[in-house]
Amino acid sequence: MDTYRRIRVGRGLTWAGILLGAAAAGTVGILNLTIGDGSVYSALAFAAMLAIPSIFAFISLDRRPSLLTAATMTAVVAGVFLIMAGIGFIYFLVATLWYFANGRRPRPAPAPSWATWGRPLLAAAALVPLLVLVAHLDPECTVTSADGTVTSAPADGYPTGWSFAFGTSGSGHSGDGTTTSCTSNTIRPWEALSSLAMTSGLAWVGTRWPTTAELEPDAEIVRSSAFD
């Protein structure tokens, strides 16, 4: 395969991973909203958080090839996070696509000198929006009567406060048609908005990633001298 085709295939793989990762993120958001009884806020926060790998990969297409490595690492982190949810394998697939996309490069991707630690750091930072989401325990109970009326009920006894924990939920039905549901940790709007802000911050960091032009501002001159 000639160099041109290798490069084209690499970019195609990158795009495939971007779209797949974005679709998975959207799916998780929708599932959170429908099956998971999440709020619009939490669904957006989850979807945005899981879209970070695709965001990084998309930004990498614009003269930031070394950012694709960070995107790959972030996809692995997302896959680990979702490993039990069934959808995690998609992120491993995305990471694999990007790994091969990177391998399609005819030369190593030009990277800033601090990329060695910057990339894994960026991938680890992708966990921050998740931790923000579950930073505070907010238990909640609702009672749904037979006629569909929903009222909130006290969640006395559930632990609350600053503690990283994912929610556990339970529900019970009484013979009069009343359903009571409790979850030990709901996602509050402020948590979701904070998470979204963190995600936006990460995306911003991605856009600040040095371009190949910035890495080698005198590349044109240097190349001329090298080939003369």
Binding site: D2, Y4, I7, S145, S174, G175
Partner: protein, 377 residues
């Protein structure tokens, strides 16, 4: 862009140094230009300019070597840290649950949980259990049956996590109240100690209601001095207007039996008392509604002193009671009204009202203290 200009850009194309627009133009040209693609193949393999920038004097080479060693060392350290973090996460998500579930601890946890649930909820019977390992904990789901007249809101759930237990005490107001102090229930603490150190178990309870069977209800009736025949036994009706949901109501009438049989025949009489208990936020309204139902039912019964009924009530379901009583109008055997209530106090209230308003015999039943022995409990 000309053919020559494109060729000048091929090096930058390989190294991803072109902006989107320029890259697109180069791409379009390469699609049709075999010569440029051949040049691209020559350009690609070696990054010569990186060598050229550093020069070749000894100092530079030494500096380059030092940087290279430092970079490799840094890479190794960072990779080790990243690997450690990744393994920690994987361990927490995958391996730890596997380890925790080893050695029959899950089964022990389930058994202990069943013991605790049964212990702190007199009359409740656990009929099935299921263990699921989740991301951060293990969940044991228990299927229970509980006394007629009570609802799942009356049950006290159990939560056990990593050596710490959380049990509810009696009278908790929340649907899932947790008491974090295991000393509140010393016996429960003893039983929970069977879980063993390091066990992770979260107990959630799903409640499946069952009422009493006809036979069991008849057995209750036989204990009295009255010659009664139970034509329906159950406790649940929809908390809705029967005019708007007649079919659902009928379904519920036949639903509440211990045996799971659908009983819905012409001589049926039934209303319900479910909801009398510690329903969230509406206990007072429930009692009031129930009393109205009783009065309405008794008014209907006044003209039929020989009826036998097993009459229970539901908040706001006076029309339900009326409908049920209307069905009994064709049954000449009815002569006793059995009122079931969730507490002594309420049962006495019902009995008093019944005594004032009707000539029918009234048997007040305290479900919470009397009925748990039914259904084999």
């Amino acid at each position: 862009m000309t053919h020559d200009e494109i060729q000048d850009l091929l090096e930058a194309y390989v190294d991803d140094r072109l902006d989107r627009q320029t890259r697109r133009e180069v791409d379009n040209h390469l699609k049709t230009c075999a010569e440029c693609r051949a040049i691209l193949d020559d350009v690609a393999p070696v990054d010569l300019h990186s060598v050229a920038t550093s020069g070749f004097d000894q100092v530079s080479l030494r500096r380059m070597a030092r940087r290279s060693v430092m970079r490799t060392a840094w890479s190794t350290v960072v990779l080790l840290i990243a690997g450690f973090l990744l393994m920690t996460i994987l361990s927490a998500l995958i391996y730890q649950p596997l380890i925790v579930n080893r050695g029959g601890r899950a089964a022990d946890a389930a058994r202990a949980s069943i013991d605790v649930v049964s212990m702190i909820n007199p009359g409740v019977m656990v009929v099935d259990g299921e263990i699921q390992s989740g991301l951060w904990n293990r969940t044991i789901t228990l299927e229970t049956v509980f006394p007629v007249g009570s609802s799942h809101l009356d049950l006290d759930p159990v939560e056990v996590r990593l050596g710490a237990s959380a049990l509810t005490g009696p009278g908790g107001a929340a649907p899932w109240p947790y008491l974090l102090d295991r000393d509140d229930v010393p016996d429960a603490g003893d039983r929970l100690s069977r879980l063993g150190a390091g066990t992770v178990a979260t107990v959630q309870i799903q409640y499946v209601e069952e009422s009493i069977s006809l036979d069991q209800a008849q057995a209750i009736a036989d204990d009295t001095d009255y010659d009664t025949r139970v034509v329906w036994a159950g406790f649940t009706l929809l908390e809705s207007d029967t005019e708007s949901m007649p079919i659902a109501t009928a379904g519920y009438l036949g639903y509440g039996t211990c045996l799971g049989q659908e009983i819905f025949d012409d001589d049926l009489l039934g209303a319900t008392s479910a909801g009398f208990g510690r329903s969230v936020g509406n206990a007072l309204a429930s009692i009031t509604g129930a009393l109205h139902s009783v009065v309405a039912a008794l008014e209907n019964l006044e003209g039929h002193p020989d009826w036998i009924t097993n009459l229970t009530f539901h908040p706001g379901s006076a029309s339900d009671a009326r409908e049920a009583i209307d069905r009994l109008n064709s049954d000449p055997k009815v002569r006793t009204l059995v009122i079931t209530g969730p507490s002594d106090e309420l049962a006495l209230q019902l009995e008093e009202i019944a005594g004032n308003d009707t000539t029918a015999q009234v048997l007040a039943v305290d479900f919470y203290n009397w009925v748990p022995g039914m259904c084999g409990r």
